[in-house]
Symmetry: C2
Subunit: 225 residues, 2 copies
């Protein structure tokens, strides 16, 4: 594997495609020197999500993990002096992607506090379990609005627990990429509509939320929301 | 490691104590031949729970995993022609034991259907994370009533989610073993009282539940509840 300076997230993506796609993986746990192979999906998913950032760091990418591992984003990556919010996700590509994109309430608040996080990039790996491990079958670099869309019952793919919005969920973007939200703004409006469906005391008012994000997103990034 | 015929769960426990206690463990994930060490608690816990049954099978214990991995019990072990319901648990011994013993509603129903499951044995491992992996620090073989007790707010250690009982939780039995429930019957009555606190439509009535379990437990096991 040749080292190459990674100057952008597109470089990171190309690097992953060139070096990891189609590769086989395996997980071994040894106790007292006796090795066994682990093959449950939970373990594979968690392990890949732990392996990828270490491997990217080995290859010169500066990544700072979020001290709160439950919070969005997973990492801040520094590329060519610029910081990027970055999430690393993976799923068993034989099923629909079932990873949580974020806790709904937490995301609603985090985006309000840091609207530039809407530009976070998702580096996503699909794998296929094999007899002795797994194979990395595909890799995606996506914006959040490219892996989400309205679901049957809600303005966005949403896991609802006992009447409250819980996790924002992706749709099978790998199969039907063209049906995602078409823009960042459409995604943000879907979050707003979802909040309106599930109002919460002491939470920022959805109208104020959007106006405020719109304004500050432009100041912070120079781009129109 | 010398093979020895395992004739009882006490044999299994002795075998684990003699061969695994104080041993170091490590988890490696390799993708495309590049190995990394995994060290998150989630992964360690899941991996140990996957390693132990494989290792016991290597050593001649017949274990049949529950096809529904979310349901109690994890395994049916056959020892000397007799079947035992068995759970394998582990936790980071530097914290309080936080593993779920069972989903409350599922357990309430399962014990009603199969009262002999009250004799299920818990083979429990505590570990300590180390720089490159973990160490198995202690091993316990327990009955369910030896790892539970009344909590501050409920008749049993209970995780409550949005007003409903969710998971039955152990207490720090490794530190204060003498404060557990003193008998199987005391444990069963605590489950009954918890159900009375959280009545559920279409669920077996708690009074009938206990009478029925009492009667059938004796028929099935020859022991008094």
């Amino acid at each position: 594997m040749k080292k190459k300076k990674l100057n952008s997230l597109e470089d990171v993506f190309d690097f992953a495609i060139n070096n990891i796609k189609d590769q086989m993986g395996h997980i071994t746990i040894a106790i007292g020197g006796i090795p066994k192979i682990s093959s449950s999906n939970d373990i594979i998913g968690n392990c890949i999500q732990e392996w990828i950032p270490q491997w990217l760091e080995d290859n010169g990418l500066e990544m700072i993990a979020n001290p709160n591992s439950q919070q969005f984003p997973d990492f801040i990556a520094t590329l060519d002096g610029k910081e990027y919010a970055m999430e690393v996700k993976c799923w068993n590509g034989e099923n629909s992607p079932a990873f949580d994109l974020a806790n709904f309430d937490g995301f609603y608040r985090a985006v309000y506090d840091n609207p530039e996080m809407l530009n976070a990039k998702y580096l996503i790996f699909s794998y296929k379990p094999t007899t002795h491990g797994f194979q990395i079958t595909n890799i995606f670099l996506k914006n959040v609005w490219e892996i989400t869309k309205a679901s049957k019952n809600y303005p966005i793919g949403l896991q609802v627990k006992q009447g409250s919005p819980y996790a924002i969920r992706p749709f099978p973007f790998h199969k039907h990429p063209s049906t995602s939200f078409s823009s960042r703004r459409e995604f943000v409006e879907a979050i707003q509509s979802t909040r309106e469906m599930f109002p919460l005391d002491n939470m920022i008012d959805p109208i104020e939320w959007l106006i405020n994000i719109e304004e500050r997103f432009e100041i912070l990034t120079g781009e129109i929301l």
